[in-house]
């Protein structure tokens, strides 16, 4: 089975709110000294793909749309166990929103050819549009299964668990298909060993540009973007917290209940 995993390199989401800065002019987060990492759900997707390969054999190709710096993310994925990596050179496109990103990724997956399963994280962990998986399915005309914590091959298709409103649903889907992966206890991303990291440095990274993918500016340039960011700001948190008084915890506890009555909350 050939599994393609789409990942995005993002600003470390663990960065503390104090260290988090944005560039209001350019309407992007200011990376500053913060580290760049693979999105948390994308890591879950990689783990799912590698486990599937370990069970049934096959090949995992990791793709990212990014700058040269995103090679770090690809190396990380290779160290985890991906077999091949593709960097799509972001500078040749203007992918400012998910519909363009998905179109570019879909073109890359078509160019790879023979892909049986496409995985993405459920959302990037950054702008969190959470659209790319579904849009890839539309672009590639493949079935789509979202919010998948675990999956396995079954005959010529796949058996997937998915989170739905009200519970977990087990589904069967034909291959090829697209699934967006959510976190679960059994897809916690593995930590690559030093040996694997060294090996990964020797694996080649393929680069695709606009010409390789046959995409023109109408499809993937500025004009193709359907959304406009008007403003990006850090919401002012006016702390309006009223602290409950009391000699000790027990007194504060009782006073809290009375305060809720006083404020007509209960």
């Amino acid at each position: 089975m050939h599994i393609a995993v789409c990942v995005k390199q993002i600003l470390d989401p663990e960065i503390s709110p104090r260290a988090f800065k944005i560039d209001r002019e350019r309407k992007v987060a200011d990376a500053g000294g913060a580290s760049m990492v693979i999105g948390p759900f994308d890591l879950n997707a990689l783990e799912v793909a590698i486990q599937l390969k370990e069970r049934h054999g096959g090949q995992v190709t990791v793709l990212t749309l990014g700058t040269d710096k995103a090679k770090d993310a690809l190396r990380r994925a290779l160290a985890m166990g991906a077999d091949a990596a593709v960097l799509i050179d972001e500078s040749q496109f203007a992918a400012n929103e998910p519909s363009v990103t998905a179109r570019i990724l879909a073109a890359a997956i078509r160019k790879l050819g023979g892909v049986d399963l496409v995985l993405t994280g459920r959302q990037s962990g950054e702008w969190d549009f959470g659209q790319v998986g579904a849009l890839l399915a539309e672009e590639l005309k493949m079935p789509f299964v979202p919010f998948v914590p675990r999956l396995d091959a079954q005959g010529a298709g796949l058996r997937l668990e998915r989170e739905a409103d009200g519970g977990i649903v087990v589904v069967e889907a034909p291959r090829p298909c697209v699934a967006s992966i959510t976190n679960a206890t059994d897809n916690v991303p593995r930590l690559p060993k030093v040996k694997d990291i060294m090996m990964a440095n020797r694996k080649p990274i393929t680069t695709y540009g606009a010409a390789d993918l046959g995409l023109g500016p109408d499809e993937s340039g500025e004009a193709a973007n359907r959304l406009e960011v008007l403003d990006l700001f850090i919401p002012e948190v006016k702390s309006e917290c009223e602290f409950i008084e009391g000699e000790n915890g027990a007194e504060k506890g009782a006073n809290l209940a009375r305060k809720l009555v006083e404020r007509k909350v209960i």
Binding site: L11, P13, P17, F20, K27, A29, P40, F41, E97, P98, S99, E126, W127, D128, F129, G130, Q131, A134, L135, A137, E138, P143, F144, F147, R159, A164, D165, G167, I168, V170, V171, E172, A173, N225, R226, L227, E228, V229, L230, D231, F233, I234, P235, V237, E240, C241, E242, I244, G249, K252, G253, A254, L256, A257, R258, K259, L260, R263, V265, I266
Partner: protein, 325 residues
């Protein structure tokens, strides 16, 4: 501009809470931008068509089909598309539940529409719709506009206000014949979510959540007692779920459930942005934490600095006295 509300779920003649909220928001936006509210009543929601009129719809288009009763996303995408095709240029509001996250991008793709997901606000400003969503785990907010003729907003629960139904309100109801077919993804089994049975976390008017500060699974029994007394549900932070103290079904946060109850009580939760992103819309937030510097106090309205072990027993006792329980 016309505002389309995509409606599903609900039981009988009353639209679901999510749909009533969207109708409230749609009415406001239609009045401001000079258009009609067109509601799509899909699947079981078709029987709530009159209820949708009473909540502000001018025109209700019903689509029913067995595949819609099975929550088949492919069928919902086709049905929603049929409704949107009849509305022309419009802003389309979709409920931000799991089905919505699945349907909205595919619907937007077929409509050639720009889509903003996880909207906490949609406003009409200077002749266009402005959609606000949290980004970077809630550390920042983005305001976006779509450049397309048809625009789609996936709206978070409780972001809009449900109106009181008006019994005498008039509006048209018409059935739309659509070619709807079940998709290639076949349901094998549905595992109902384990829950304490009373009320769904997302719908609960009161949520009592515990985090890493609880130190183990046992204290959740106390949270459960408080929740029961207040008619609410128990939530948890990612840390508590990761520690295995409570099932992931209870997780509140960016990667768990988004809740916006009237009262949210955070016990032993530090207030990582990840968690806050899932509960910051709560009307009243109470935080109980040992650490006076915990970030949770920045979003809390009422704070108790103290050890939950000392605070909770007397809080519970006083609650019982107040409730006469």
């Amino acid at each position: 501009m016309n505002i389309v509300v995509i409606g599903w779920g609900g039981d009988g003649q009353t639209p679901s809470a999510a749909v009533r909220e969207l109708l409230g928001g749609a009415r406001r936006l239609a009045d401001q931008s000079g258009g009609q509210v067109i509601a799509g009543a899909l699947g079981a929601a078709a029987s709530a068509a009159q209820g949708m009129v009473q909540c502000g719809a001018d025109r209700v288009l019903t689509v029913d089909h067995p595949a819609l009763r099975e929550a088949d996303a492919d069928a919902y995408v086709a049905a929603a598309k049929a409704v949107c095709d009849r509305a022309g240029e419009a802003l389309v509001l979709v409920p931000g539940d799991r089905l919505g996250w699945e349907v909205a991008p595919r619907l937007a793709h077929r409509l050639g529409a720009g889509l903003v997901t996880d909207c906490v606000a949609v406003d009409y400003e200077a002749g266009r719709f402005v959609m606000t969503k949290p980004v970077y785990g809630g550390k920042a907010m983005a305001r976006l506009a779509a450049k397309t003729a048809v625009q789609v907003a996936l709206v978070r629960a409780r972001a809009m206000e449900a109106p009181a139904p008006e019994a005498g309100r008039s509006g048209s109801v018409e059935e739309v014949a659509v070619q709807v077919a079940a998709g290639p993804v076949r349901v094998i089994e549905r595992k109902r979510e384990e829950s304490s049975g009373r009320v769904r976390l997302e719908d609960a008017p009161v949520v009592v959540s515990g985090g890493r500060g609880l130190g183990g699974p046992e204290p959740f029994a106390q949270l459960e007692e408080i929740a029961q007394l207040l008619g609410g549900a128990v939530g948890a932070s990612l840390a508590a779920v990761d520690a295995g103290w409570i099932s992931p079904a209870h997780q509140v946060g960016q990667t768990g459930k988004s809740v916006a109850p009237d009262l949210y009580i955070a016990v032993g939760i530090s207030g990582a942005s990840q968690h806050v992103a899932g509960m910051s819309g709560s009307k009243t937030i109470v935080a109980i934490n040992k650490d006076p510097e915990a970030p949770i106090f920045r979003v809390a309205h009422i704070g108790v600095v103290g050890d939950y072990k000392d605070v909770l027993p007397s809080f519970l006792a006083e609650l019982r006295r107040i409730k006469g329980a």
